[in-house]
Symmetry: C2
Subunit: 380 residues, 2 copies
């Protein structure tokens, strides 16, 4: 067998200037920027008095989860059961699975994971699902914590009314095998509203609805022990509005192009900086003002548009996708040469990370570590 | 450690009806349809008297490459060196790498792979690259075959004129370490022109240009031993025009939605059928006429638009992406239930396959095999 890409690059670690010897396309983390982002968010949550459970769907990495927990996070969120299994196997605890787990095969895996972990919780939005979870968890040593997922109006997942939330919470509480864990409310549609004031107004309106849900639960005798939600786009507003008790922020660790298009703090500088990059090389340069690089649809998710060019081309250069394995960098008047290195920032970090087996962690121009993308591809 | 997704499903192989027990999202191959597609294309190439070297960037699978070679293919194409390394390690020979390999680190790997293989060739479009290949291959037991990549007008890779093609071929032939392998001419921009007549006119015009390139090479004393190119969209026209001596067709094995939008044969039925699917489950069903499934950006590439729904929802149902891990299936008046299975066809197969570690091969409702996606993620 041939060595993995990780094995291939391991001999380069700590060799000065080794970043330029990497085979590309390669996913690169600026270690200093990553640590600053993690510390900034941890400090923000601590001083605001809210719990921090960063969303690991962004990074899928046990190493980054450990850094977040070391900085004060209570654990991490996972979008899928498979992601939780992979991170738990790498020693991460305090996991909330933020999507319903519904098929019999998946529920069996969930209960098995619960038995192996100290602190696992899951959301539900359907009474049949609660009954199935209760039946499967019956033999467990401890009750499984189930949160009521509340639809913030996007109709993706979640119960559709305060009454439905209260009924589902009562159903959870009625089972000895389950424990009512609280409420999840994730306003996905509001995260990327570019202007701070517009985003604030939208989230304030949604938070008033959430207050009604919390009120209905409290009236039913089930005041939620946890109200979890929020994202990188809204976390400052969420904290100010004071209903969420826990933040699920994810993208702040990397800051992709989509979030850079948003004003994250009111009238202040962006509190977070880009720490995630894609290094590529020019492999063809036969057209004037254009270089073709070795990074296309298989190197970057395309749902978030095009990447920006962080280095390797003149200011104002633009990127165009050129199919599965190639991209074009256009800069009028610039003479690209084969072998030139071009560094991109990801358009949307989460599905881009999911394409790579490893992060190449750099300090400046030197590779200092390689971290596996622990839960890559684990969408099940 | 937890078992891989492949280990998880291995006990289901050959158990009747086991497809419904798969954890989802999962990439499914209809074995019968796949074999029919492979046989149809092999028969077409044989009767047309052209060589067939299917593009493995579509499937990245040693098992599918073996089926293609067993049916008569002379080998496979790979888009990247890392893909070639992975397939060669699994025993595949006769590999043409269809993109230039330019950095010193990649050229060192290329030469090492050449030493391990019986038949490896690569394309080039730049004299400096040819010189670097020649220098690196100097010590090799056999010369490395290098083809001249000719730009068909999309400015992705390739030399820009017949004169440049002849000059590059002479440079290759001048090195004892290299062998002039022929010409590559891939008309990527023409593959998806929906109407057959329009596609025919476009490719005829391009093929006339290619004839000029072949003429210039012949005049320079280097008649190309191989003229390789073509795709699923144009292969019937390419053969009729009679300049290509080898077809690089890829997507015909799976037939994604993009190619189903094209009329592949003149006035006849589509010669190929869909063999690749994504099975998903409804995980939330709280909005009327809508089911949320467990497949989003991390289960399907989005560069080709949205998938079609092959099963599990009424005729006319539509799919919408709902973020990284979810999609919405809309069918007015239909009552979706959690746990319902929905089967999708991929919008664009190549980058979708690249998201998965394995193919789940089915015959009807029974899982009959699991094949690794051998070169998944190997874009380097």
């Amino acid at each position: 067998m041939i060595p993995s890409d990780i094995d291939l690059h391991r001999p380069l670690i700590d060799r000065q200037g080794s970043r330029r010897a990497l085979n590309t396309p390669v996913l690169v983390i600026d270690r200093v920027a990553l640590e600053r982002n993690i510390a900034t968010m941890a400090g923000f949550a601590r001083s605001a008095g809210v719990a921090l459970r960063p969303h690991a769907k962004t990074h899928k990495s046990a190493e980054i989860a450990r850094l977040q927990i070391a900085a004060g996070a209570v654990g991490v969120c996972c979008a899928k059961l498979g992601e939780a299994e992979a991170l738990a196997a790498a020693g991460i605890d305090g996991i909330l699975i933020t999507s319903p787990v519904v098929t019999p095969q998946a529920i069996a895996r969930l209960v098995a994971l619960h038995a192996r972990m100290g602190d696992l919780s899951v959301v539900a939005d359907n009474p049949d699902n609660v009954d199935a979870l209760a039946a499967a968890a019956r033999g467990a040593a401890r009750p499984l914590a189930v949160l009521v997922d509340v639809d913030p109006g996007i109709r993706r997942t979640g119960v559709a009314s305060p009454q439905a939330a209260a009924a589902l919470a009562l159903r959870i509480a009625a089972s000895d095998a389950l424990r009512f864990g609280g409420v999840q409310f994730y306003c996905g549609a509001q995260q990327h509203i570019a202007g701070f004031a517009e985003r604030r107004a939208a989230i304030a309106e949604r938070t008033e609805y959430l207050s009604g849900v919390v009120g209905a639960l409290t009236e039913a005798g089930l005041a939620p022990p946890l109200v979890t939600g929020g994202g990188t786009g809204t976390h400052r507003i969420d904290v100010e509005l004071g209903v969420l008790t826990e933040l699920q922020v994810g993208s702040y660790v990397f800051m992709d192009r989509q979030y850079h298009d948003c004003e994250l703090a009111d009238g202040a500088d962006q509190p977070y900086e880009t720490s995630l990059f894609i290094d590529a090389h020019v492999i063809s340069a036969n057209a004037p003002g254009m270089g073709t690089i070795d990074a296309g649809y298989k190197a970057m998710a395309t749902d978030g548009g095009t990447p920006t060019i962080a280095a390797g081309a003149p200011e104002g250069a633009a990127f165009f996708f050129m199919g599965d394995e190639h991209g074009a960098v256009l800069a009028a008047g610039h003479a690209f040469r084969i072998g030139d290195r071009v560094t991109l920032t990801a358009p949307h970090c989460d599905p881009t990370v999911n394409l790579y087996d490893a992060y190449h962690v750099v300090r400046g121009e030197t590779l200092i570590d390689i971290w596996p993308v622990t839960a890559r591809g684990r969408s099940r």
